[in-house]
Amino acid sequence: MLRYVLDRVKSSVVVLLVVSIITFAVLMIIPGDPAQLILGTEATTEMVEELHAAMGLDRPLYQQYLGWLNDLLHLDMGTSYVYGESVKSLITGSLPVTLSISVFAMIIAVFFAFLFGMLSAIKKNSIIDYFSRSIMQLGTAIPSFWIGMVFIVYFGLKLKLFPVSGFVPFSDDFGGFIKSITLPSVVLAIGETGTLLRIVRSSMLDSLNQDYMDMAKVKGLGARKIYIKYALRGALIAPLTIIGMQFAKLAGGTVVVETIFSLPGLGRLVLGAVEHRDIVLLQGLVMFITAMVIFITLAVDVLIMFINPRIKSFQRGE
């Protein structure tokens, strides 16, 4: 068990290293000189070269890489040219925004996907099944920028229930925090619910057809035990994997929704860094988001191993 986790951590470190090399290489290769960018078009060649030397950009690439990696290991991701702030503080500033809406969105999506996914599998071809299938279609089909704007117009401007933009930190005002993340979270959740519902429904149907369900029925168990202890337990793995992927995707920044609701989240930070060729910030962000995605995937895998301990023995080749 511990060995399985350690194995996974080891391979995660390797992935991170590879990603760091690729990130560094790609951002070095693409055209655009950060020194030129900082100094502007008026700068003389001497000034640019001076700045190169100051920033270490005149060293050989591998030295630059090792220096960057070393700083990274000390959690020093450098300073953004554009914002003039340390990358670390930029990330820690925008992370709570993205994490709050991602977590809230996933809670909503998981609740509805499991509720309707299970019901529609148990009562296949009933009204509730048709209803759930419509949710699936709509959820995946409706574009988030459109539903986001509809929400802003209706709930924000007409009914004035929620603020139309901005983020209120958790520590400032809890009610305001919830209000400020509700609309963006619901918009994100609509997109994810459809996909997740589909997976829950199909794995639940699969589980309901398994022979162990016959056994549970013969035992005369109550519906709660039959459907939750036996059927749901057997149907958890695929949805959990998808939840992990969805959460990792959202946590890595949701550009469209953050833009619509003017939320200062990770997605907007990435967008700004790309627009302004802020290479230091971009490198830092890519590494941070990769690490976060790897961590989430790892956590989900460990969770799945608890639910289906058989995976352990597959790993050992038994």
Partner: protein, 323 residues
């Protein structure tokens, strides 16, 4: 002894004229009747697709949702299943019947430890707590041949062999002290040495606890050795039933006669091909008034097309136009 008049209380199962059909209206099982006496092993034999499993599953309320069944009478462990609600049926079956499947792999939930699935039915039906339930489970596991029940309880099903899993299934079926155990080809997935162990276990359960066992099998030799009574099914209908002794000594139906003739023996010569009954079990037209076996029957007559006579003599039943 067989001629004694039994009253209903002595029978664990009375099933009269069972009819099972699918959602398209095709008949799968027609006019099948079986009576299982208290404390006997009752063999239900027939080829694949003859309706053995459907007949047994209708008794324990396990038919797939798209099939519907009707019967003139269906009494299981003292209750008329036709008169009680679905909820009562579930509780009654859960309490009084056990089910042992053919396939040992998928009937135990692979992600739940044995100790968390062996006793949940018992807990539901008796208001005992889990500790008491597990104590009982240990005793039963010891009875079905585990010398280390405590550690077995902590295993996941996939950590055990096929024979062990089948014994777990048997132990699970015994948890509620059932009156009836339905064993659907319980030894088909096991090799022959384990098969013998499991069958001996059934015999000892039957003898010591006087639990009735409905043993479904396509292996006539096995049924001959272990059952007290039997019924032979063909294309969804019981064609002959009676005590094992009388059916084997004096088979009346041509199908039963052929089945008995083709049981492989040790005397078989290497060059001689195994005997078989030519043709297949028909899928369609099972609701005919005539004899279902007529197309494969060596003794078929013209009358078999439209009519089949039912005989009943001292508990030995068969349906054939021959006497």
């Amino acid at each position: 002894m067989m001629n004694e008049i039994m009253n209903d209380a002595d029978n664990t199962v009375i099933l009269k004229n069972l009819h099972v059909s699918d959602s398209m209206g095709n008949t799968l099982v027609s006019s099948s009747s079986i009576t299982i006496k208290m404390g006997e092993i009752f063999g239900l034999v027939g080829e694949s697709g003859s309706g053995k499993t459907l007949t047994a599953k209708s008794l324990i309320n396990l038919l797939p949702d798209d099939l519907c069944c009707s019967a003139d009478e269906m009494i299981v462990a003292g209750k008329n299943m036709l008169e009680i609600s679905l909820r009562e049926k579930k509780a009654h079956i859960g309490k009084n019947a056990g089910y042992i499947p053919q396939n040992t792999v998928f009937f135990l939930h692979p992600m739940i430890k044995i100790k968390n699935q062996i006793a949940d039915g018992f807990i539901d039906h008796t208001n005992k707590n889990k500790k008491e339930a597990l104590e009982k489970a240990e005793g039963i596991l010891r009875k079905v041949g585990f010398s280390n029940p405590k550690s077995v309880l902590n295993y996941y099903p996939w950590q055990l062999s096929g024979g062990m899993r089948q014994r777990i299934n048997i132990a699970m079926a015994l948890m509620n002290d059932p009156k009836l155990i339905v064993a659907d080809e319980p030894t088909t997935a096991l090799d022959s040495t384990v098969q013998k162990q499991v069958m001996e276990l059934f015999r000892s359960i039957n003898e010591e606890l006087s639990i009735s066992i409905l043993l479904i099998s396509h292996n006539l030799g096995l049924v001959k050795n272990y059952s007290h009574s039997l019924a032979v099914m063909y294309a969804g209908a019981v064609v002959e039933s009676g005590t094992t002794k009388s059916v084997f000594e004096n088979p009346k139906h041509p199908y039963t006669q052929l089945l008995i003739d083709i049981i492989p023996t040790m005397k078989i010569k290497k060059t001689e091909p195994l005997a078989e009954i030519p043709g297949y079990v028909q899928e369609k037209g099972r609701d005919t008034k005539g004899c279902l076996f007529r197309d494969r029957c060596p003794k078929a007559m013209e009358i078999c097309e439209n009519y089949v006579k039912e005989h009943e003599d001292g508990g030995h039943y068969f349906r054939c136009n021959l006497d």
